[in-house]
Symmetry: C2
Subunit: 355 residues, 2 copies
Amino acid sequence: MSLQTSSEIDIIKAATSKIDQVDFEKLTFGSVFTDHMLVCDFRNGAWEKPVIKPYEPFVLDPSAKVFHYGQAIFEGMKAYKTEDNSVWLFRPEENHLRMNKSAVRMCMPEVPESIFIDGLKELIRLDEAWVKNGKGNTLYIRPFMIAIGSGVIAQPSTQYRFCIILSPAKAYYSGDVKVLIADYYSRAANGGIGAAKAAGNYSGQFYPTQLAHNAGFQQIIWTDDATHTKLEECGTMNVFFRINDTLYTAPTSDRILDGITRKSLIDLAKREGINVDVRPVLVDELVEAAKNGSLKEIFGAGTAAVVNPIVGFQYKDEYFELPKLEKSYATDLKEKLTNIQYKLAEDTFGWTVKI
Amino acid sequence: MSLQTSSEIDIIKAATSKIDQVDFEKLTFGSVFTDHMLVCDFRNGAWEKPVIKPYEPFVLDPSAKVFHYGQAIFEGMKAYKTEDNSVWLFRPEENHLRMNKSAVRMCMPEVPESIFIDGLKELIRLDEAWVKNGKGNTLYIRPFMIAIGSGVIAQPSTQYRFCIILSPAKAYYSGDVKVLIADYYSRAANGGIGAAKAAGNYSGQFYPTQLAHNAGFQQIIWTDDATHTKLEECGTMNVFFRINDTLYTAPTSDRILDGITRKSLIDLAKREGINVDVRPVLVDELVEAAKNGSLKEIFGAGTAAVVNPIVGFQYKDEYFELPKLEKSYATDLKEKLTNIQYKLAEDTFGWTVKI
């Protein structure tokens, strides 16, 4: 290992790379990590100097608050390599902004740009060989923060760890996705933490999602917990509905995550001349539209899958198959968005950032 | 360290004890841990052999699911030492049962009695010197389970760690507690994880509780998230209201934890001839009762504080002071419950279990 010190970030390089042990054609999403990670601890009211070092385990006290009180947040992002071997990020400032919003809601310190953005760029430069070019190949980026202070008393920690790990990924293909509309379980409360990318929001979905799996569905479309009449998210993604030629999606709220893919798709769709209506979408409307044939598409939107088309949905005892379209908004918008991400189309929005 | 193997549990004793470094008169709740801990990992669909070993840090991959998805649950219990130096647990089977209910809701494996109960007894036997006698002295017990499987994909882990750590504690005194009634923030959703002792439920409360602190309140009384009209929990405790001579508390639900102190107090109060009414209690009722003088007491109930009397509450812009009673239900029930726990009164309920 060689130690390289800049004024901003310490860099400890791995003696050898693991890259030759990885089959980049057979990657399970989120399971293989690059040679390095960025770690920065928060102690005594301040962020310490970040360090990029070989990927290695954390050593934490069994009473660390992350284990007991779930004080933990994360982000999901991707890096893309173009034909000329340059590497690009997609709207990273949005992830940084959202991470800090999550931090505030979870009583955690905000992460400065010099650590989140500059640290990420430095880390990716070091592990650039792990980003493969060719559309579909990406480097999945996982910035996260955990409470590392010890003590089994339910109070905010005074010590935190911010970390970025990187995982090479292939295009995400989930097969035919059938969804179940939630009429009992919920992912978020009014005045709760649903809008934060907080760890606890995700594990809370596991059990209802497993019940849905057992019944033959891949995902759940979450509804508002009070009435189960409003369609809110799909699994861990935002969700869009196409009725006739209008695209509907719920407004963000304290129950709904402000997805970056979501807002990018809205902008793209509008540019394409598609009518986009951001307003609460009711279960009854969806069922009615499915029955009268005006429901054309449903798709999830998120960083991992980009766009995840849904082939049918079940509500209570009734299953509705969606039409198979020659030219869907889902396919078209995904193509247009990924073309921008891979620099295969002009980025008129200024979304891409070169590393 | 000496290795002692039984058929059920491996025991690795610490070479030396830390006990002489601890000032048992000056203990901060949940911050000092005994010499040993019990650890048992779940892998390949089964629990491995539990091991009691010296208290030491966990070594976990940065992608461990507990860090990203909050798949973590815990319990809180206490051990009590009597005048004759015997050590007792209070309704441990209830904690075991609840841990397993939480496990099901969070898609985690249930912990067998041979690990949870027998393991706990064995651990306490080893660290018995850490339990001091004299009323008020307790050993706080923290059983918990975390997802240790790696991979940044939001799915249940296949690997888990169950662990028990022990922390000596003095009687919990929180000073005068003023509470704020929640009219915007919430702790749990209908169909959510509020009834599970899941990690994410606790960190979600930190921010609203901090806002309450800043406004001069120690706790929040949580209300239902849909209407904010029903009184549900107080901080991390269940909550009781005395109006005239009747004691009210909300029924448990998927938003409200089935507290062991709560149910014990209900049984005790009934035995004392107090009228107990378990039904939804409305904010409006409370305000009305405060105004007409029929509201006598509010108190929280939980393992750490046992009973936590409240001196006043604020709802929107109005603050209501509670009367100072010579003989309160809170003080009386706390005294009666702790007398049972310390074997100073006959345990007619059969709640105490000797180690």
